[in-house]
C-alpha cells in the first residue's frame, strides 16, 4: 500500500498564525491562555480562553466571503490556503475530481448562529439573514474550501467533537486509497461566543480557576477542568506517488496508523475503549509500542478522565514507558481543531527531533504513572509519534505518524507493494 504523506500545514492557533510562529511559541513554552476578549465574560464562572491573536479576516480572505461565513470557517479557509501554499499545490494542475476536502468542526458556526437566532427572537423572522442558511451548518467550511479551490472530489464533514480532528485524517487516508490524489483535511473550531461558552459551563468540565498559569493543568494533582480554545490546523495529505508526480519531495512526515473506537454507555460496567483505539492504531501502523517515541495526550484536565487516559497509555506502553506531552496546555482545548493541531505539532516535533513541553504541570498526580514531559522541551530521538483524542460523548481516536520518507523507505515500500 502506498505511503500517505503530509505535504503542507496551515495553523491558526492561540499560539499564533502560521506554522513556525506556532512552533516557536510552543517550544518556548509561551502559554496563550488569557482573559476572554471576544465578548464580556466577566459574569461567567469561566473567564479565560485561548483566542487566536491578530486574526484579521479582511487581510486573509476575499471580502465577499467574510459576511457569509462564521469565524470558524474564516479560520478553516485561511489555514487551508496556507497549507496549500506550503505544499506548493497548483490546483489547476490536478484532476478536479481527485482533490477532496474533509473538515471537522464540533459545533459549526456558533457565533454567527447566535447572532441570527437573536435577530429572530428579538426582531422577528424577517430579520434572519440569507447567509444563516450557509454559515451555521456544519458543512459550511468544507463547502467554502471546495468552492474556493475548485476541488470536486468526494468531500466530507465529520463531527465527533475532539476526535473529529483525527477522524478526518483517517477519512483522508481512505480517500487517498480509493482514487483521490490530494485531500485538504482541516480541523478548526471557534465557539467563543456567549452561547458556546455557556453550553460548556453547563457540562461542568470547564475550569473556574482565574489564574492563567494554573487554570488548565492536565494530569496535575490540581487539575480543575479545561480552558476553552479556538482555532486549528489544516493538513494537505497525498500519496507519495502523487506528491512526486507534482515534482515535490518536501514533506513533513507520514500517516502510518489510525483507529477509532467508542466508549460503552455510562453505567454499563464495561471499560472505556481509548486503549483499544491506541492499540488498533499501532497494529494498523505495524509498529510495536517501543517504536513510539512520544504520545500527544488528549489531556482533558479532569482528574478522572486524565486518570483514565494515563491508565490506557500505561497499559500499552508500561508505567512511565513513553514520553507523554500536552502542548494544548498553552492553547486551551480546541475540540476538533485541537486534535488536528496536535498532529501538526507532532509532525514538527518529528522534524526537529524535540518533544514540546507541557506547561504549568509541576505536581503531577502520582496515580498517573506516565512520563509527562515538563515545562521544557526534551531533545530525543523521535521515530514515530502517537496522537490521542477523545470527543465528548464517547468518541476515541488514535493516530500514528512517522518521519519523512527517505530514498531507502521508497525501496522498502516498493518491495512491500510487490
Amino acid at each position: 500500500m502506498t505511503a500517505i504523506v503530509v505535504t503542507g500545514l496551515g495553523v491558526a492557533a492561540p499560539t499564533g498564525i502560521g506554522v513556525e510562529t506556532h512552533w516557536s511559541a510552543i517550544l518556548a513554552g509561551r502559554s496563550a491562555i488569557g482573559p476572554i476578549t471576544r465578548f464580556d465574560a466577566s459574569g461567567y464562572p469561566t473567564r479565560l480562553a485561548g483566542e487566536v491573536p491578530d486574526f484579521v479576516a479582511r487581510d486573509r480572505l476575499p471580502g465577499r466571503l467574510i459576511p457569509q461565513t462564521d469565524h470558524w470557517t474564516h479560520l478553516g479557509l485561511a489555514t487551508a490556503q496556507d497549507a496549500l501554499d506550503d505544499a506548493k499545490v497548483v490546483t489547476s494542475d490536478l484532476p478536479e475530481y481527485q482533490m477532496a476536502v474533509v473538515t471537522a468542526g464540533s459545533s459549526g458556526g456558533t457565533e454567527f448562529g447566535q447572532r441570527e437566532i437573536e435577530r429572530l427572537w428579538r426582531d422577528g423572522p424577517q430579520h434572519v439573514g440569507a447567509y444563516q442558511s450557509i454559515a451555521w451548518f456544519y458543512a459550511a467550511t468544507t463547502g467554502q474550501i471546495s468552492i474556493r479551490h475548485g476541488m470536486r472530489g468526494p468531500c466530507g464533514v465529520i463531527c465527533t467533537e475532539q476526535s473529529g480532528g483525527l477522524d478526518i485524517l483517517g477519512q483522508a487516508r481512505r480517500l487517498l486509497r480509493s482514487g483521490s490524489r490530494l485531500v485538504v483535511a482541516g480541523g478548526t473550531d471557534a465557539s467563543l461566543c456567549p452561547y458556546g461558552l455557556v453550553a460548556q459551563i453547563a457540562h461542568g468540565r470547564l475550569t473556574t480557576c482565574g489564574d492563567n498559569a494554573r487554570a488548565y493543568l492536565p494530569f496535575d494533582a490540581d487539575a480543575s477542568g479545561y480552558v476553552p480554545g479556538e482555532g486549528g490546523a489544516t493538513l494537505i495529505l497525498e500519496t507519495a506517488e502523487s506528491m512526486r508526480a507534482r515534482g515535490v519531495d518536501q514533506h513533513y512526515g507520514t500517516i502510518l496508523g489510525y483507529h477509532a473506537t467508542f466508549d460503552p454507555r455510562p453505567g454499563s460496567g464495561r471499560p472505556p475503549t481509548l486503549e483499544s483505539a491506541a492499540a488498533g492504531a499501532l497494529a494498523d501502523a505495524g509498529l510495536r509500542p517501543d517504536e513510539i517515541d512520544v504520545v500527544f495526550a488528549d489531556a482533558v484536565g479532569d482528574p478522572a478522565l486524565d486518570h483514565a487516559e494515563a491508565t490506557a497509555i500505561t497499559k500499552i506502553f508500561g508505567p512511565y514507558g513513553v514520553p507523554v506531552t500536552a502542548p494544548k496546555t498553552m492553547t486551551g482545548r480546541m475540540y476538533a481543531g485541537g486534535a488536528t493541531l496536535d498532529v501538526a505539532t507532532a509532525l514538527l516535533a518529528l522534524r526537529d527531533q524535540v518533544i514540546p513541553p507541557t506547561t504549568g504541570v509541576y505536581s503531577p498526580a502520582p496515580r498517573n504513572r506516565i512520563d509527562l514531559v515538563g515545562a521544557y522541551p526534551r531533545q530525543d530521538r523521535l521515530r514515530h509519534a502517537m496522537v490521542l483524542a477523545r470527543g465528548h460523548g464517547g468518541f476515541n481516536a488514535a493516530l500514528v505518524i512517522g518521519r519523512q520518507l527517505t530514498a531507502h523507505d521508497d525501496q522498502g515500500e516498493a518491495t512491500w507493494r510487490k
Partner: protein
C-alpha cells in the same frame, strides 16, 4: 441490508411509511410544532411522534433532542427487524454512522430562548442552562445516542454534509465494513428541523414553498407549478452486514449496497450548475463500482426537492449519466409526500428504495400534474407502479455543493426480505 427502521411523516415505522408511499398520500400540512405566524412558509411534513409511546424513558426524553429521539426509535426498529441479537455481537465489531444536516437545532433553539430571555440577552444566562446543553451544541450527540442504544464500541461517526448527510453516512458505514473495520453497521440519518430558526433561514433565501393555502399539494417535484421544497423531519436507520455474515445466519436481506460515490460541485453554496455534471459524475462512479450499465437501473429515486433549480439540474444529470435509458427508467421523488427532511431524507430514501425492491413497486411522485417542459423524463406521476426491480439508483444534492449517488441491488443469494 438486513434491517430497516423509519420515523417519517405520515406514520411511525417502516410499514406505515411504505403504505404512505405506495398509496401516493401526502403528509404535508400546516406547521403545528410551533406558531408559524409571520413566517413566509408555514407548512411542513411533520411526524406524529410520541416519544413515550415509542418506548423512550423519561430521562431519554428529557436529555434527547427530537432528532435524537427519532434516531434512537428508528435504530431500535431496524435492529429488531434485522433479527440480530446485539448481545451476541462483539461490541468492537459494531460500527455506527449517523448523518444529520442541522444536528440538535431544535433543542439548541429552545434552550437559547430561555437563556437569552427570548433574544434579549446577548450574554446568555448560564444559571438557566440544562446540563445536557453541550450535547445539543455538538451534533455528534446523535451518533452517541444511537451507539449507546445498540451497544457499539467500534468506530462511531456523525457525518454532516448538508442534505447529502444521509447517503454519505450510509456510504461511510459501508466503507468501514468493506475495510474490515466492523461486521455490522447501524447507519442512517436524522433531522428535526421544523423549528423557527431553520424555517426562517429557508424563508430568507426563498427556498421553501410559500403555498400556505394548500399544504397537502405544496410539494410538487418536477411539476411546472413547483415553488420550492416543503420542509420535513424524520429518521431512517438501517442495519448493514457483511454479506457473508448475513447469509451465515440466514437473515432476511432487503438488498445490497453495491455502489456509492460522492462529488462536489465547487460552484456555489446553494446554486447548482444547470448541466448537473458533478452529480452525473457521482452516478457514473457509483454505477462503475456496482459494475452496472445504465440499463441495469430499474428505478431512480430522485433528490427531487421541488425547487425550480434542483429538478432541472437533476434531470440533466440523469440524461448525462444514463443516456437514452434516462427516458426509459421510472424516476420519482418521495419528497412530494414526506417533504424534505434535510440530512435525514437521504437515509429515508434508501429505506424507500429497499422497500421498493422488496415489494417490486415504484413509489410515485405525488402532486405531479403539469409536466415542466424542462423536466421531460418519466417521473411516475401520482400512482405507484408495479415493476420488476433488480437495480435501483438514489441520489442526493446538498448545500455546500455535495452530490452523492448510491446503487442498490436485490440480493442475489439469501432469503428475500
Amino acid at each position: 441490508m438486513t434491517g430497516i427502521g423509519v420515523v417519517a411523516p405520515g406514520g411511525i415505522g417502516a410499514k406505515a411509511f411504505w403504505e404512505l408511499l405506495a398509496s401516493g398520500t401526502t403528509a404535508t400540512r400546516a406547521i403545528s410544532l410551533f406558531d408559524a405566524t409571520g413566517f413566509r412558509s408555514r407548512i411542513a411534513a411533520e411526524c406524529d411522534f410520541d416519544p413515550q409511546a415509542n418506548g423512550l424513558s423519561a430521562q431519554q426524553i428529557r436529555r434527547m433532542d427530537r432528532a435524537a429521539q427519532f434516531a434512537v426509535v428508528s435504530a431500535r426498529e431496524a435492529v429488531a427487524d434485522s433479527g440480530l441479537d446485539m448481545a451476541e455481537l462483539p461490541p468492537a465489531r459494531l460500527t455506527v454512522s449517523v448523518g444529520s444536516a442541522v444536528g440538535c437545532t431544535m433543542g439548541l433553539e429552545q434552550e437559547y430562548v430561555v437563556l437569552s430571555d427570548a433574544g434579549r440577552k446577548w450574554l446568555v444566562d448560564h444559571s438557566y442552562a440544562v446540563p445536557h446543553l453541550y450535547g445539543y451544541m455538538v451534533p455528534s450527540t446523535l451518533a452517541t445516542e444511537v451507539a449507546w442504544e445498540v451497544g457499539a464500541e467500534g468506530p462511531v461517526a456523525l457525518i454532516s454534509t448538508g442534505c447529502t448527510s444521509g447517503l454519505d453516512a450510509i456510504g461511510h458505514g459501508v466503507e468501514v465494513i468493506k475495510e474490515g473495520g466492523a461486521d455490522v453497521a447501524v447507519v442512517g440519518a436524522t433531522d428535526a428541523p421544523i423549528s423557527p430558526i431553520t424555517v426562517a433561514c429557508f424563508d430568507a433565501i426563498k427556498a421553501t414553498s410559500p403555498n400556505n393555502s394548500d399544504p397537502a399539494h405544496a410539494s410538487r417535484p418536477f411539476d411546472l407549478g413547483r415553488d420550492g421544497f416543503v420542509l420535513g423531519e424524520g429518521s431512517a436507520m438501517l442495519v448493514l452486514e457483511d454479506a457473508e455474515h448475513a447469509r451465515r445466519r440466514g437473515a432476511q436481506i432487503y438488498g445490497e449496497i453495491v455502489g456509492f460515490a460522492s462529488r462536489s460541485n465547487a460552484f456555489h453554496m446553494t446554486g447548482l450548475r444547470p448541466d448537473g455534471r458533478e452529480m452525473a459524475e457521482a452516478i457514473r462512479c457509483a454505477m462503475a463500482q456496482a459494475r452496472f450499465n445504465p440499463e441495469d437501473i430499474d428505478y431512480v429515486n430522485a433528490h427531487g426537492s421541488g425547487t425550480k433549480q434542483n429538478d432541472r439540474h437533476e434531470t440533466a444529470a440523469f440524461k448525462e449519466s444514463l443516456g437514452a435509458h434516462a427516458y426509459e427508467v421510472p424516476v420519482s421523488s418521495i419528497k412530494s409526500m414526506v417533504g424534505h427532511s434535510l440530512g435525514a431524507i437521504g437515509s429515508i430514501e434508501v429505506a424507500a428504495c429497499a422497500l421498493a425492491l422488496k415489494h417490486q413497486v415504484v413509489p410515485p411522485t405525488a402532486n405531479m400534474h403539469v409536466p415542466d417542459p424542462e423536466c421531460d423524463l418519466d417521473y411516475t406521476p401520482l400512482h405507484a407502479r408495479e415493476r420488476r426491480l433488480d437495480g435501483v439508483l438514489t441520489v442526493g444534492s446538498g448545500f455546500g455543493g455535495f452530490q452523492t449517488a448510491m446503487v442498490l441491488a436485490r440480493a442475489a443469494g439469501g432469503r428475500a426480505g
